[in-house]
């Protein structure tokens, strides 16, 4: 073939980011605004067990997961659990429409510039990263099934017991 068109065939699908949020690695820090505009910094929760949940309001499994996360937070907040929902959607309309339908006790932050998204590289939503008191990612869950809730609870209880 005169023109080497073969190379045009391949669609290189290297992802936009490499997997940063891996089990056993230190949870990448971030500073993001919550719904009131206050800056939430992950480092400040060192010493607590933190569940980071990447989500978007249009994602049905994310919406299904929220009541379960809220129940978990209410049950263990006094024992040292923190839950931070990291919204990746830049539509404030969708966010507020969703929040009007649910009551959430845990912290919601907004990642409009993809800072946390780049650090944790979730490809599927929701993605939950459970961080131990030492700031190390101990568990990662991709997507949501009802069965995950018991898994989350078992893992959180185990991590809360650790010094």
């Amino acid at each position: 073939m005169k023109i080497t068109v073969a190379i045009l065939l391949l669609m290189i699908t290297a992802p936009a980011f490499a997997n940063a949020g891996q089990v056993g690695t230190v949870a990448p820090d971030f500073s993001l605004p919550d719904l009131t505009g206050k800056t939430i910094n992950l480092q400040k929760f060192r010493g607590k067990v933190v569940l980071l949940d990447f989500w978007m309001p249009w994602c049905e499994p994310c919406r299904e997961e929220f009541p379960a996360l809220d129940a978990l937070y209410k049950k263990y907040r006094n024992d040292g659990l923190e839950i931070i929902g990291i919204n990746l959607d830049d539509s404030e309309t969708r966010l507020h429409e969703f929040l009007q339908k649910v009551t959430i006790s845990f912290t919601i932050v907004i990642d409009k510039k993809d800072r946390a998204r780049k650090s944790y590289s979730p490809e599927i939503l929701p993605s939950a990263f459970i961080v131990g008191k030492d700031g190390v990612i101990r568990y990662v869950h991709i997507g949501y099934h009802k069965e995950f809730l018991q898994l989350y609870e078992n893992e959180i209880v185990e991590l809360l017991k650790q010094p």
Binding site: M1, K2, I3, T4, V5, A6, I7, L8, L9, L10, M11, I12, T13, A14, P15, A16, F17, A18, N19, A20, Q22, V23, P28, M56, W58, C59, E60, P61, C62, E64, L88, D89, D90, S91, R94, K113, D114, R117, K118, S119, S121, P122, E123, I124, L125, P126, I142, G143, Y144, H145
Partner: protein, 350 residues
């Protein structure tokens, strides 16, 4: 008669073998899809995909550097191979058939991708092409070139035609559907020369237009893409691209081309971040046109299967590799084709 019957059986067997190869490859991909279809109902409730692949919506800059190795050393005509000796006996409407020996290509492509907002992005591809070529010309016996056949050898290494492609992917909240629109610019040279190997006519000779680093033309590129997840374990994507030159340059116009790609990605590899995948790549390209074009031996239809893998090195840096294997080729005239191609690259996320 017996020889004819044997020949017919050989030809039939060759076609059957080719069809079996195509069906086997398609079955592999179909099988992977079907395997996942049982989970498809659960998939809709398990997660939502984000557009994090090539057409990413993650804001910011990424750089990509890729090396493609393409060694075109197999003469083919139609859907089969042809020996150089048999090719040398062909007489086309333009005269005796040219018999090329090889074209070896090393493409080094710098990709610069910038996502302006979640909906808009732009990608620039800057290729540097190292290409060696030799032809026996139009007066050979397929082994040795005769005088006056225009035989030559060439080696070029220079920048090729830069592509600038914008994309809009704001049709869905997850930004997994989009359109592509851009231009291939005439930045590569189209007047490079080779060295005649005809002792009766030594000196510099122009390289065939189809083998120049650039086409000399501005081409429009339009397309669309889609990606989604099939299940917890598999993601998939599809793209379609059309490219057409807007004008002829110095009596040469490359043929219009259509690329269709579909791929499966395995998301649950035991080693975190490693993503194996397989693609099917289809291309149809028309013949080149113009008095300076080879209108006989250009264009065709190709189908490749391309397994590959991406591997993260750090959270900002990853490497990838692919091999492309032809499973169907139908080429106009007589053309050099690769038996396979390889691509390796690095990707850096700012």
């Amino acid at each position: 008669m017996q020889t004819t019957n044997i020949t017919q059986r050989v030809i039939q067997n060759k076609y059957v073998h080719q069809i079996r190869n195509i069906l086997a490859a398609l079955s592999l991909v179909a099988g992977m899809v079907l395997m996942s279809s049982a989970d498809a109902g659960a998939c809709a409730s398990c997660g939502c995909t984000l557009s994090s692949m090539q057409f990413s919506d993650v804001q910011g800059l990424t750089l990509d550097l890729r090396w493609d190795y393409i060694n075109q050393d197999q003469l083919r005509t139609g859907t089969g191979t042809i020996s150089p000796v048999d090719a040398s006996k062909i007489v086309t409407s333009n005269g005796p058939q040219e018999v090329e020996k090889y074209t070896r290509n090393n493409y080094f492509t710098l990709g610069i991708d910038y996502v302006i907002t979640h909906e808009w992005g732009v990608n620039v591809q800057v290729p540097f092409i190292d290409r060696s070529h030799e032809t026996l010309g139009t007066n050979s016996n397929g082994i040795v070139a005769g005088p006056g056949g225009g035989q030559y050898e060439s080696h070029t290494d220079s920048f090729g035609d830069i592509k600038v492609v914008g994309r809009y992917q704001g049709f869905t909240p997850q930004h997994n559907v989009g359109i592509l629109f851009g231009l291939k610019l005439p930045t590569g040279t189209y007047t490079a020369t080779g060295t005649s190997t005809d002792p009766t006519a030594p000196g510099s000779v122009p390289i065939d237009r189809g083998l120049q680093p650039g086409t000399g033309t501005t081409d429009v590129i339009v397309g669309a893409f889609y990606n989604d997840i099939l299940s917890e374990n598999f993601g998939y994507f599809a793209t379609a691209l059309f490219q057409a030159a807007l004008y002829a340059q110095d009596h040469y116009m490359p043929g219009n081309g259509v690329n269709l790609n579909a791929g499966l990605r395995y998301l649950s590899f035991p080693v975190s971040g490693v993503v194996p995948q397989v693609q099917l790549n289809f291309r149809f390209v028309e013949r080149d046109s113009g008095s300076n074009a080879d209108t006989i031996n250009t264009g065709g239809t190709l189908l490749y299967i391309s397994p590959g893998v991406t591997v993260p090195v750090t959270h900002q840096f990853l490497v990838y590799g692919f091999v492309q294997l032809p499973i169907y080729q139908n080429l106009n005239g007589v053309q050099l084709a690769p038996r396979y191609t390889t691509s390796v690259g690095v990707h850096y996320i700012f």
